[in-house]
Symmetry: C2
Subunit: 125 residues, 2 copies
Amino acid sequence: MTARAKSAKKAAPDLCTEHHAPASHPAAKIPPLSLVESQRMGEFFAVLADPTRLRLVSLLAADEFCVCDLASSLSMTESAISHQLRALRAARLVSYRKEGRQVFYRLHDHHVLELYQTVREHLEE
Amino acid sequence: MTARAKSAKKAAPDLCTEHHAPASHPAAKIPPLSLVESQRMGEFFAVLADPTRLRLVSLLAADEFCVCDLASSLSMTESAISHQLRALRAARLVSYRKEGRQVFYRLHDHHVLELYQTVREHLEE
DNA sequence: CCAACATCTGAACATACGCTCATGTATTGG
DNA sequence: CCAATACATGAGCGTATGTTCAGATGTTGG
């Protein structure tokens, strides 16, 4: 299973023993992600891995909106939208501003807008 | 529930009727994502929303590796790694090259490397 | 205060996802 | 040919996730 142990007694020597091919060709030598780093990064991408949340981001990329209008724009319940905005808030992708009964949401900063636009263009092929 | 219908007969007029606040302040007017567009974009982010796949990308960001070495580097079974490489392949995030019994994987293009590095730096705060 | 509104929250259910396990295919050396 | 190696694949299981539903909190106008 592991294919890590050295060959038994005959046939097919273990040629896969950490000797990768050309040895070096890419950019700088960046250390691989640790387990916790990969988990943090995974959680970040996971927030953007949902159609509803992405549509919310796409709306907020144009202007600021209250929960009610966001729900209406996507033809979804305000409860569902509120749940998703909570996730976007926890990931610091959006900020909000209370005004009376309403809560207006907007993208947290320009990094979010840029990431969204970059990936959108990347998929427009 | 929908809060879309006009007020009944008295009290609390429907102030949330698509009149968002300042009206305009951000960048250009980009149309919101359609349902299918958001699904495609969501699937793309979903591939990057897993710790194992991110660690694979982080390894392939430095060099090209065969499945066996990738599994060994992450202390996981070759089966698990093969399953994840399949997902990365389907998303066109990695390419591969067969050499005898081994299959060497690498990042598909520089866009992948740039996206990975950008987000990594963004989380290093 | 009270009713309507705007939003938030917790529980529950259906679905999606990642790993393990067993098996299948392909390549190599003897 | 045959066995070991390298990788791929399908089924199955436990867990995570998004939505609905019911209800709670907070705000406003009469």
